[in-house]
């Protein structure tokens, strides 16, 4: 057992980080939000970095890596709040033609027996995966009677509401549906880890330069302890997310469903608490539109509803314990 990143994994993470920092710096958040979506050019560049083809075997034109590598990549995408149906297009590689190469933008929708049916980035999709209880179907987004939602919560995640889902082309059954939910959960958890990390770093940087009472607020214990808690949450989320990735690749080390549920729950909570604390540490500036913290909070809400909510995962984990012998 060596749970540290390999040299290749560090290089992969650093490469994606450098790309995201250069291609999607914080200043672009406002600009992109104004444009109402992401650029196709960015999508092709992400494809060029192997974001979508990462786990496709080399024989099929992919990079041939696993979920442990994918969570590293998605944590970096989350860190910079890259827009678009990233996880769905990654999951669609090998299922939908053009997804791996970035030529097709593939979105997704989970059916959980309730409503409303909100499709993210619907206007920019070339294909939509619909994941139900018993299977996965592929739909043509043009065939949806979709009405745009005037103001989405996350300015970078436009929404359309659809009244009903027409039958599409069936891609697989229960097993595929379960796999996509599980892998999607790990990818969303990784993005949430990235948010937890980025908001911690933003808050620390701000607290070090913001002065009140004649000194940096980072020197006050009330602030320091908030920042320390942010770091601890981020590191626990990191461990859980990495464990989920490694367990999906090597199921002999544990229960992948449990590992993903724990990771999604812990990373989701870390992102939410860190984004909120980031706003608090920024004080009045944190409440403004022009500062970045609110984008992180809003994306966290979006990711929190994908691939199982915290309550769903908590319930699932309780079931894991339910069979155990009593005191």
């Amino acid at each position: 057992m060596d749970f540290r990143l390999s040299e290749d994994q560090e290089a992969l993470r650093d490469g994606i980080r450098a790309f995201c920092d250069g291609r999607f710096p914080a200043e672009r958040l406002g600009e992109c939000a104004g444009a109402g979506g992401f650029e196709r050019a960015l999508w092709r560049e992400l494809a060029g970095m192997g974001v979508f083809s990462l786990r496709l075997p080399e024989s099929r034109g992919g990079v041939g890596l696993g979920m442990a590598d994918a969570v590293l990549v998605f944590a970096e995408l989350g860190r910079r709040l890259l827009p678009g149906p990233l996880a769905w297009s990654h999951l669609a590689a090998g299922l939908v033609e053009g997804a791996a190469s970035g030529e097709s933008v593939v979105g997704g929708l989970e059916l959980d027996g309730g409503g409303p049916l909100l499709v993210e980035h619907a206007a920019q999709l070339d294909a939509l995966l619909v994941v139900g209880e018993d299977g996965v179907a592929r739909l043509d987004p043009q065939a949806l009677a979709a009405a745009p939602v005037g103001v989405p919560l996350d300015p970078l995640t436009p929404l359309h509401e659809v009244a009903s889902i027409p039958a599409g082309e069936r891609l697989g059954g229960r097993e595929l549906a379960a796999r996509l939910r599980l892998e999607g959960g790990a990818l969303a958890a990784a993005q949430l880890l990235g948010i937890a990390e980025a908001t911690q770093e933003l808050a620390v940087a701000y607290a070090k330069q913001r002065e009140q009472f004649g000194r940096p607020i980072a020197g006050f214990q009330s602030i320091k302890h908030m920042l320390a808690d942010m770091y601890v949450r981020q590191e626990m989320a990191r461990a859980a997310v990495y464990a989920a990735g490694a367990t999906l690749d090597q199921p002999e080390v544990g229960d992948p469903a449990r590992a993903v549920a724990s990771a999604k729950l812990v990373a989701g909570e870390a992102a939410m608490k860190n984004a909120r604390t980031c706003i608090q540490v920024h004080g009045g500036m944190g409440y403004t539109w022009e500062m970045p913290p609110h984008y992180y909070l809003k994306r966290t809400w979006v990711l929190g509803t994908q691939f199982g909510t915290a309550d769903d995962h908590a319930e699932r984990l309780a079931e894991v314990l339910a069979g155990a012998p009593g005191l």
Binding site: G219, E235, A243, V253, V266, A314, L321, G326
Partner: protein, 395 residues
């Protein structure tokens, strides 16, 4: 990022599991908490059995009775002993997880030969002499004075919250050897035999009503200079080695135990009736339990990450502070949930209505010490803030 144990780790696991399956039941149930002679016999007796079977000092040097095995085998050891419900380290805590590792890292060959094999065989019980009435969180402000006279230090002072002082034969004792130096630069780390003349021990009952720790008074106690670990006035650095062990891996077996305990609590909730149905039917309770399990899973993954990193250096890293902070607060929340599940039975410290109130209350009350001992949660946050995040040291 590989969580698979190696074939040799798995072989070690199989052998250990087989041995524990017969050894644990034979050792019997632990004695009552207040019966200290019986507790010492029980805990050291178990340690002796571990030693005889080759399971003592997993990652200690073979030259001193250890096994010299890897950090991952140490983790396997924690996993298997917790799974088997093996006795806890108990009175061996300071020697095995604290003072012993410090001597491994910093002791002289004579000190190693003198103490390490005996600690591993359960022949030496250690206690801790760090805190003082005026030096708790500000440990470096300690005043217990050691003046060098010939080959001895003459020690005078007052230590408090000394775990296992009333049963310990040796004390890891922090003293001030240079009162004029800045506070961190005048401290030395001594091995103090507890039977020396001039030592007075007064038990200090805990809020759980137990006699785990004491106040210790030193009046002209002569400790040989040869008992100093590390250089004179270098004790603060040595202490930080000790504290990193205490914060890093010392709690690993507790964490696995806690997972088992959470499953036990789910079992209790299924047996308790609330509003005419089992308490476990309450989805809010189930979600709370599931949430706590997620946090335990994250913590255990973090321990694996930390062990993987420190397998290079042999000393746990600064993330030990993050682990200690998270573990101790999580432990309190889990044990408190136990008390809430009991409802009215939770105001009894004896078992009532066939419910395990005694153990549940015992665990929760004891857990209250965890966020204070070995550097309070607030001190851990300062360490994370200042030494990891680089924030200013203002108070």
């Amino acid at each position: 990022m590989d969580l698979r144990y190696s074939e040799s780790d798995e072989k070690f696991r199989r052998e250990l599991r087989a041995w524990l399956a017969s050894a644990v039941p034979k050792h019997g149930a632990p004695p009552p908490a207040h019966d200290w002679p019986a507790r010492v016999a029980y805990d050291t007796g178990w340690q002796r059995k571990l030693f005889d079977a080759g399971y003592a000092g997993i990652n200690w040097p073979a030259a001193y009775g250890g096994r010299d095995l890897s950090a991952t085998e140490q983790l396997v050891y924690y996993e298997e002993t917790a799974r088997a419900g093996a006795p806890y380290v108990g009175v061996n805590f300071v020697g095995l997880l604290h003072g012993g590792p410090t001597i491994v890292a910093e002791g002289t060959p004579e000190q190693k030969a003198r103490h390490l094999p005996r600690i591993l065989r359960g022949e030496e019980v250690w206690c801790q002499g760090f805190s003082e009435p005026g030096a708790g969180s500000d440990l470096a402000a300690l005043k217990t004075r050691a003046v060098r006279v010939g080959d001895d230090y003459v020690v005078n002072g007052h230590k408090i919250w000394c775990s296992f002082a009333h049963v310990g034969e040796f004390c890891e004792l922090l003293v001030r050897t240079d009162p004029d130096a800045p506070k961190h630069r005048g401290i030395s780390w001594l091995i103090c035999p507890m039977d020396l003349p001039g030592i007075e021990i007064r038990p200090l009952p805990t809020l759980a009503g137990e006699g785990e720790f004491s106040e210790v008074f030193f009046n002209d106690v002569r400790v040989p200079v040869a008992n100093r670990v590390g250089a004179e006035n270098d004790g603060w650095r040595v202490t930080n080695v000790t504290l990193r062990f205490e914060r890093g891996t010392a709690f690993a077996s507790e964490m696995i135990n806690l997972q088992k305990y959470l499953a036990d609590l789910a079992g209790v909730a299924r047996r308790i009736t609330r509003h005419g149905v089992p308490a476990w039917d309450d989805s809010a309770l189930r979600r709370e339990v599931g949430h706590l399990l997620a946090e335990l899973d994250a913590l255990w993954a973090m321990v694996k990450l930390s062990v993987s990193r420190s397998s290079q250096t042999g000393v746990p890293g600064l993330e030990g502070s993050a682990i200690k902070l998270y573990y101790t607060e999580l432990c309190q929340r889990i044990t408190e949930l136990g008390v809430r599940i009991l409802g009215r039975a939770g105001i009894a410290r004896d078992d009532v209505a066939g419910l395990p109130s005694k153990q549940i209350l015992h665990r929760h009350l004891n857990s209250l010490s965890l966020t204070i001992a070995a550097g309070s949660s607030q001190i851990q946050r300062n360490i994370v803030a200042e030494r990891i995040l680089g924030l200013p040291k203002d108070r």
